[in-house]
Amino acid sequence: MTGDFLQVSEREVVELRQQMLAFTRLQLANDFAAEDIVQEALAGALKNAASFTRQANLKTWVFAILKHKITDHLRRQYREPQQDSLDECKNCGHSDDQIFNNELFDDRGHWHADAKPQRWGDADRMVHDEQFWRVFDTCLAGLPPEQGRVFMMREFIELDSDEICAALQLSTSNLHVLLYRARLRLRECLEDSWVKAGEKRS
């Protein structure tokens, strides 16, 4: 039933499902709930997908549905906070983070010459560049899990700070530290793997 009406192959649906699952697990840290949510989102999307003929469209659309389902789930959880707290911020003071910071900044806290942010292309071009999003996925998956999780809750699902703190039982200042570290790493990874690699290509 996986939708030859979509001109999407079985293999592509399997792939899409994997991506959805990876994304959802990152947000929920609960594999059973993640499986359920992905299943619901995918079934709903495929059932109503007759108007979608292009695969790139299908993916963003399915992820939009998925996003709504994850948000619902997190909001429910927010009302009855659970035990999967990130606080005490066990992972906030990661020694890895210190090492990473030393790669970016010298002992006076200034950029090392080779780590200094470069000029990027314009945002419009990035949004529609499939290669950019592949690099983005890889960079996101390379973040320490708790950083990737709060980053996507904040930027993709657009929960506000209070909601994220309540859902994860995290203090505001620890959330800000995690978001900062996520942005620092993600930006650096994108610049190395996409911007600089692109310069070499062209």
Binding site: P117, W120, Y180, L184, R187
Partner: protein, 65 residues
């Protein structure tokens, strides 16, 4: 004088809450003389914009060309 590590922290925190006047002033001073941090600030904003843009376009059945 603020360094780049502190400036990038404030640029990130500024996306989560309104910065205090003192923070704003010090950050502004730093950005005047530091192109790396100016770029950093643009990039993190740009990431927010494009991540949201993918969702907006996905709410419409037809992709604009």
């Amino acid at each position: 004088m603020m360094n780049c590590e502190q400036a990038t922290q404030l640029l990130s925190v500024g996306m989560e809450r309104k910065l205090k006047l003192k923070e704003q002033a010090e950050l502004k001073m730093h950005l005047l003389i530091c192109s790396g941090c100016r770029q950093f600030g643009q990039h993190v904003q740009q990431l927010r914009t494009i991540i949201r843009a993918t969702k907006d376009s996905s709410d419409e059945p037809e992709e604009k060309k």
